[in-house]
Subunit: 190 residues, 2 copies
Amino acid sequence: MKPSENKILAAAHDLFREYGYNGTSMKRVVEASALTTGSVYHFYPGGKVELAAAVIVEAGGAYQKLFEQVLDGCPTVLVGLETLFQQGGVMLASTDYIDPCPIGGIAREVANVEPKLREACDLAFNGWIDSGTRRFIAAGLEATVARDMAMLFITTIEGGFLLARTARDPEPLLAAGRAFCAAFRSQLRR
Amino acid sequence: MKPSENKILAAAHDLFREYGYNGTSMKRVVEASALTTGSVYHFYPGGKVELAAAVIVEAGGAYQKLFEQVLDGCPTVLVGLETLFQQGGVMLASTDYIDPCPIGGIAREVANVEPKLREACDLAFNGWIDSGTRRFIAAGLEATVARDMAMLFITTIEGGFLLARTARDPEPLLAAGRAFCAAFRSQLRR
DNA sequence: GTCTATACACCGATAGAC
DNA sequence: GTCTATCGGTGTATAGAC
């Protein structure tokens, strides 16, 4: 990837997280990437939709990698999950409660309006669901329960981000995380 | 409430759900309410922000009432929760997967940009959290667990809406709902 | 690949007659 | 309370020189 392309992608990523999809103008992306309109449309001839799709693909891969790396670095999957909720809370507080996840934000905003973006978000979520399901099975959960728990994990993270940002307090994310981890523990003991 | 005011509120409610906050123009609200710019700004002199705040207050109360009524109409709280997830899935499929909750949508979109809307959403969410906590305590959960579970319930609903809309399939909401209800059941048995 | 300039539609909000 | 007309600004995207 060319350096200019990377600057555009990074600028768009940050702006979408802070102002949302419709709240971010291409002009702002141009300014934040320290380039010009012509360059941005050179790399993303499909305009704003194509740019957002690229952000979604990149962020989807990055978060899946983070999820797996944190679990790999912890003694048990349960400890890894607890760590992820903790880290999420710290990140929220240290970034002024900006949306940590452009995928969920864009999906919620334009799922019914921009089919290409909905599909890109769907792909990213499915990657997470599959990754989570595999890890939870490896941790000892029964297959169908593992998939349900993977879905619950993502809803807890996404919903927890939402409540914590709204409250400007990590507590709702941590509370939902505690309840999720208790549920995970109780499924392990069967 | 005057009939014109009601028309404006209903139109804005529907448009915010389908197109989001920034994706909804005042002009569209004017058209959808079959009134004029002057009338809309007469009832909401604070403009778009004030209108959105009114939508949030109304929807927050309506959903809290729905939550409590469904629980009241079911033999146990657990059955009530299962019913809520089921009903949510049916609603999504029958409304082309439009966002069921303008509060979560607006909060996610502008929590960092419009303090008044963030506060209105926070108030609505806190009402739900308190209501859920009370109901869960009454169902037999220990007080601190009940509050965590109330938070988890809301994150599961909001996150489940997000995943189901993105997939255009109720299944992620139902899967997360199954996992949540299993967790609730296991907390009852202590 | 990068730049400037610009086309053209739409935005939120206001003014002031009735 | 309701209406029409309109202000000033911004939106996405394109054109065409370098």
